[in-house]
């Protein structure tokens, strides 16, 4: 077999890993996360799935870009209580609407599915227990 072809899977794996979050593991980064003020709420956004690693659309909250859907990465935003729309766009835009109460922490998982040309990333509101468990496997996606 051509040596270049033999290297192809290794190069592919390296590219895949390079596309993943490289920040500190959640357990380590969590120590530096400031406590939530009672007047605000917090939204954690994270992506556990590495599949479609090259697809990393920006994540918007009420049309403001707050981060990107980095595989294996998490980040959070603190916002005033209110109504929010979390959206991601690749070929199409997918939106999650949620209500944030004072002192409340919400967990939004960024899922990936098949698209026509590229994968679709869509935000899903998950239970706190599920979010806490899954986010522990991620790394900081804040650059």
């Amino acid at each position: 077999m051509n040596p270049t072809l033999r290297l192809a899977p290794v190069l592919g794996l390296l590219l895949l890993l390079a596309a993943c979050a490289t920040g500190r593991p959640y357990a380590e980064a969590a120590a530096d996360i400031p406590p939530l003020t009672p007047a605000q709420g917090r939204i954690y956004l994270y992506r556990t799935v590495v599949l479609g690693a090259a697809v990393q659309p920006p994540v918007r909250i009420n049309d403001e870009v707050v981060g990107a859907a980095v595989p294996g990465g998490f980040f959070f935003v603190d916002r005033a209580p209110g109504e929010y729309r979390v959206s991601t766009a690749t070929e199409v835009t997918r939106t999650l609407s949620l209500v944030l109460a004072p002192g409340q922490v919400r967990y939004v998982r960024l899922n990936i599915g098949m698209g026509f040309f590229v994968g679709h990333v869509w935000p899903e509101l998950v239970e706190e227990a599920e979010g806490v468990r899954e986010i522990a496997t991620t790394r900081s996606a804040v650059k």
Binding site: E91, R94, L96, V99
Partner: protein
């Protein structure tokens, strides 16, 4: 041949950012009137899986506690802190249950200020909190 390839390559650019409305959730505008303790709180005695005709379902878990927080024209609006409630179509919406005479008649979508009817309404098996 090349022209076709160029057109195909341009399609993602054209589609980029388009709302993904393959699956529609039928909603109607609703005026929500906040009214704490408007109806009796209840515990859901039996899990319910609610289809909204979108290809997705919403599962309400057995044992969840529900509190009335207000009303819309179709009924009383109940919220639970025991589970995440969303209705899903192409987009996902956080939702609250709309109950009328013991039946789940729809979901109120607080961000959209709209309600999505459940057809047919679902008889809820409820228990009074102890």
């Amino acid at each position: 041949m090349w022209a076709r390839l160029v057109l195909l390559a341009m399609l993602p650019l054209v589609l980029a950012g388009c709302p993904f409305d393959v699956s529609f959730l039928k909603t109607e505008p609703a005026v929500f009137v906040a009214q704490p303790d408007c109806g009796k709180p209840f515990i859901l005695g039996r899990a319910e899986t609610i289809g909204m005709g979108t290809g997705f379902t919403t599962r309400l878990r057995q044992g969840t506690r529900w509190q009335c927080i207000g009303q819309v024209h179709a009924g009383l609006v109940y919220r639970t802190a025991d589970q995440v409630v969303t209705v899903e179509a192409s987009n996902i919406h956080e939702a609250q249950a709309v109950v009328n005479q013991g039946r789940l008649v729809g979901f109120y979508l607080p961000v959209e200020r709209a309600w999505a009817p459940v057809n047919p309404p679902v008889e809820l098996m409820t228990e009074a909190p102890k």
